[in-house]
Amino acid sequence: MAKKPPIFLERDRYRTRRLVDALRVLPILAGILWLVPALWANDTQNPPEIARLAIYFFCTWALMIVLSFALSRRLRHSAEFAGGIGTDGPSAPRDRD
């Protein structure tokens, strides 16, 4: 019989899972942030200054880079991934056919 996966994980693995969740969310957040000017710049009569837009893009971009850097730093030190960026655990969804 295959062992049933545990429902709860110990603290370290739990933290790692949430770290991975953060990694997954990051590009979505970036995508949304880079669409914000689409709402903001919609006013064709009185468009925002282009320099401000540029500053907005570069700042959010830098922010994303810093977040990504911090996350990958944390991930490197986390226990579960010491042996390589590994497998999705038992709780990961599996495709069935």
Binding site: W34, L35, I55, M64, S68, S72, G86
Partner: protein, 895 residues
């Protein structure tokens, strides 16, 4: 100045050659740890920034404001989201030994070669204009300098410099890209060179940017004011274009053949992705930071009508900053060359693996023994393909006349290549996607792209008539190329991205839903989608004993004899079999196929193994394994099956051992009678002649001499036989004293050959000696080792049955051991005898030449004492023996 520029670029190219050469050497000598650092990986990704982005981004910004950012934001999104797609892609790339994007799709969809060929054609069509664009950018930047020099080097000169650049790039790529058929398809030289170029282009662009902001505009605040006062102040975001372009650049980042090459194929370690996930966005951020300032300053200080695509170059030139201009030229040159090198390398791999090899394989169908050296053919195919791809790029450039139309081709090319995306993503995440679905989706997407974007891009009345573009084919308005289904007023690019991707994905999904995939497809699908669950593959082959030698012959021709022998030996070792021929277990065949796939692609490797092993590769059991419901039952029965297989293998090994024992016993009996005979014959003549000499007192001197000679010769023969027996028993009992001194294996071999050749002259054996200068001196017993060499050479002379006997002796040094191969051109030793030849008293067949059959047994004992080994090497086209021994026999001699 133009002359200085030319010498600067030639010097720069020389530096690149040196870097590439040095990296290759470091990697070959195993001291290239830094070559595998995540930084080199990140920098190599920068081939995304081609000359089109280096020069063109400024032009783009001058024309459409901040929109140029989308080209960089898309890839940044992909890198930030590496956990979603790239991690899986890289893992699969490594697990399946994928060699290109075409290989990925082919491998996922049942190792289909049709699909691979389709993707290859698509990639070539999509990339050729892009290569032309790079050539154009280099010639344009040359002519910008020429104009500054008032040389007016236009027209024919342009074409010539493009030709030179194309030739130089082909040369570089062929040298470093096809030096050898790498099992892992990794090219350290190329990767290192493009990493250096990545630094150069970044420095160049940042230097121009700093000059423009602080040197020309006088600081950050005035610069921002200037930007707000520029004609861009009224720029507003075109939402549709913004989203479409971001998506497009993200898609292209994943699907461009050259990006796939550096992202997946050249990846050394999955963890490099972690670093690249923030370092690559940083790189592109820096690349795009100064684009808008440069564009604004260019528009304000340069005369009306100057080409904004060249602002990066013309601003420093106009302001007399020649050094900066040359740096900027080198940056653009770097962008162009690194892109062309990697793109042509990736395309050449695809063309040779998916178009040339299948045709060639079909031509030789069923005659694998007639294959010849496959490696040479693959390498030749790659070299020719590189030349071909670059020639196409050059042709496109000169036909399109280097027109402004080329500038728009970057995005058009992206859109074409992005058609692979639905099949790729579907293949990675959806087990239900099928080969037919992928093929149909690709064809539809590609057709829509060609019809609505690529062909119209040449302008009205060039390929498509103006009437067709205005009113649609046969006057059907709904089919107008740039307003499909009557939706008018869309930007042509957005229009094509939308319709091609939508129709592509819809057809892909729909056909996949109604199609029924083949077993191999379903297996591969499971392996791709669940790559993190199954790290070990489901094996499909069922081999029969006795195919190993054929497999070895084939493997040697594809991955080279050194690699193949290592692979077979390690597998044999794992299975507990001595020698070079493992049992063809399913696991081994799977492993072999994967190794081959690393050189010639999945589809070709599959076909080649199939030709030898024969039969279908997927069993009902494997299919049941795909269904998770029955997995447990399967596990049990497969364990049973494994056990029974194990049992039958053990039984086979026992049977072999038994056969061997029986054979030895038979031989021993035979030997006893043989030895009695051997002892008896000389004894008889000694007795007879000594009796004659004793009884007949009046023999004349001549007869006396004759009889004494016979007695002497017979006694010598007896002594030699007894010596051999004694030698062997001493060696076997371990009482031998070794006389260990330092000596050169090269000299030992030469001496052994001289000894043998001095002995007899009536049978001529040609000896080809391949010595190696890198072989160090060894500490061994020179007399004993020499004895082994002499024995092997004498054997070759005695038993080689070729009309013109030839013996090739080659000496190599690998991993602290000396390897010496003796290969002759005779018919070799039959398989059933290979096991026996090292046994005492063994002789192959009933051979004519005398000898008690002790020679090889003695050799084996000697080599054992010297910490080495002697083995028969099958599959070399003749009798072949391999002698290996340690550089220092001290550790083994039992002192």
């Amino acid at each position: 100045m133009i002359n200085f520029l030319i010498s600067a670029s030639i010097f720069y190219v020389a530096v690149l050659f040196f870097v590439a050469f040095w990296a290759e050497r470091a990697a070959a000598q195993g001291r290239g740890a830094w070559l595998r650092s995540p930084w080199v990986y990140t920098l190599s990704l920068s081939i995304y920034c081609t000359a089109w982005t280096f020069y063109g981004a400024v032009g783009y910004a001058a024309r459409s404001g901040l929109e140029y950012l989308t080209i960089y934001l898309g890839p940044s999104l992909v890198m930030l989201g590496w956990w979603w797609i790239l991690r899986k892609l890289v893992r699969i790339g490594r697990a399946q030994r994928v060699t290109s994007i075409a290989d990925l799709l082919s491998s996922r969809f049942g190792k289909s070669n049709l699909l691979a060929a389709l993707v290859t054609v698509l990639a070539v069509v999509g990339t050729t204009p892009y290569i032309a664009l790079q050539l154009q950018s280099v010639t344009l930047s040359f002519s910008a300098f020429a104009q500054a020099d008032d040389l007016g080097m236009m027209g024919a000169g342009n074409d010539r410099s493009a030709l030179w650049v194309a030739l130089g790039l082909a040369f570089f790529t062929i040298i470093f890209g096809t030096r050898n058929l790498d099992v892992n398809e990794r090219h350290h030289g190329v990767v290192m060179a493009i990493a250096v170029e990545a630094i150069v282009k970044l420095c160049a662009l940042v230097a121009v940017g700093i000059f423009v902001v602080w040197g020309v505009s006088g600081g950050l605040a005035p610069m921002l004011e200037a930007i707000n006062a520029s004609p861009h102040q009224n720029w507003h975001m075109d939402n549709a274009r913004w989203v479409a372009l971001t998506f497009l650049s993200a898609a292209a980042f994943l699907t461009l053949p050259r990006m796939f090459q550096v992202l997946v194929v050249e990846n050394e370690d999955e963890r490099h992705l972690q670093t690249a996930s923030w370092a690559f966005p940083t790189y592109v951020l820096l690349m795009s930071l100064f684009v808008l300032p440069i564009a604004v300053v260019g528009q304000s200080i340069l005369p009306q009508g100057s080409n904004p695509d060249l602002y990066v170059l013309t601003i420093p030139l106009a302001l007399g900053q020649d050094t900066l201009a040359i740096l900027s030229f080198l940056g653009g040159f770097s962008s162009a060359t690194s892109m062309v090198v990697v793109a042509s390398l990736a395309l050449a791999t695809m063309v040779s693996n998916h178009i040339v090899m299948p045709i060639w394989l079909r031509y030789w169908q069923g005659k694998f023994s007639a294959f010849g050296d496959v490696r040479r053919i693959v390498l030749l195919a790659r070299r020719v393909s590189i030349g071909f791809v670059l020639f196409l790029g050059y042709l496109y450039y000169s036909l399109s006349g280097g027109s402004a139309a080329l500038a728009a081709i970057g995005l058009i090319s992206f859109t074409g290549v992005a058609q692979v995306l639905p099949a790729m993503i579907g293949g990675l995440f959806w087990r239900g996607s099928t080969r037919m679905g992928a093929i149909c989706g690709l064809l539809v997407g590609f057709f829509v792209w060609g019809y609505s974007l690529f062909l119209p891009s040449f302008g009205a009345d060039v390929v498509m008539s103006a009437n067709l573009m205005q009113n649609g084919p046969w006057g059907i308005g709904a089919l107008r190329p740039q307003a499909l289904f009557g939706i008018d007023g869309l930007d042509p690019l957005v229009h094509t991205i939308f319709w091609s991707m939508l129709l592509n994905a819809v057809v892909f999904v729909f056909v996949s839903l109604i199609d029924f995939p083949s077993p191999l497809e379903r297996l591969q699908g499971a392996q791709f989608v669940n790559v993190f669950d199954h790290s070990s593959a489901t094996s499909g082959w069922t081999g029969k004993a006795g195919q190993s030698e054929d497999l070895m012959v084939m493997a040697q021709r594809i991955i080279g004899s050194v690699q193949a022998q290592k692979l077979f030996q390690s597998e044999a070792h794992k299975q507990g079999v001595s020698g070079f021929l493992p049992e063809p277990t399913p696991e081994f065949l799977e492993r072999l196929e994967r190794e081959l796939a690393g050189s010639v692609g999945a589809a070709t490797a599959h076909a080649m193994v199939g030709q030898i092993v024969g039969g279908t590769s997927v069993t009902v059991q494997d299919l049941m394994a795909v269904a998770d419901e029955t997995a447990q039952m399967m596990e049990y029965s497969s364990r049973l099956e494994l056990q029974s297989e194990e049992l039958s293998r053990t039984a086979r090994q026992l049977r072999n051992a038994n056969d061997k024992l029986t054979q030895i016993s038979v031989q021993k009996d035979a030997f006893l009678s043989q030895i009695s005979h051997e002892l008896r014959t000389p004894m008889t003549s000694i007795l007879a002649f000594s009796e004659i000499m004793k009884e007949a007192g009046d023999l004349d001197r001549q007869d006396l001499n004759k009889y004494a000679t016979i007695i002497h010769a017979e006694s010598t023969r007896l002594t030699r036989l007894l010596d051999d027996l004694l030698d062997l028993s001493v060696l076997e009992n371990g009482q031998v004293h070794l006389n260990l001194v330092a000596c050169s294996p090269n000299d030992l071999l030469r001496r052994a050959i001289a000894t043998v050749q001095a002995g007899e002259a009536h049978r001529i054996l040609r000896i080809n000696l391949r010595l190696s200068d890198t072989v160090p001196d060894v500490i061994t017993d020179p007399d004993r080792l020499g004895q082994v060499f002499i024995n092997l050479i004498t054997n070759a002379r005695k038993y080689c049955d070729a009309a013109a006997p030839e013996l090739t002796i080659s000496l190599t040094h690998r991993a602290g051991r000396i390897i010496c191969d003796f290969v002759d051109n005779g018919s070799g030793i039959p398989k059933e005898d290979q096991e026996m030849i090292f046994e005492k008293f063994a002789r192959v067949g009933q051979t004519k030449a005398g000898g008690a059959g002790l020679g090889l047994a003695i050799c084996r004992e000697i080599m054992g004492r010297l910490g080495g080994d002697i083995a028969y090497l099958p599959g070399q086209g003749g009798g072949a023996f391999r002698v290996t021994f340690a550089v220092d026999a001290h550790n083994f001699s039992g002192h």
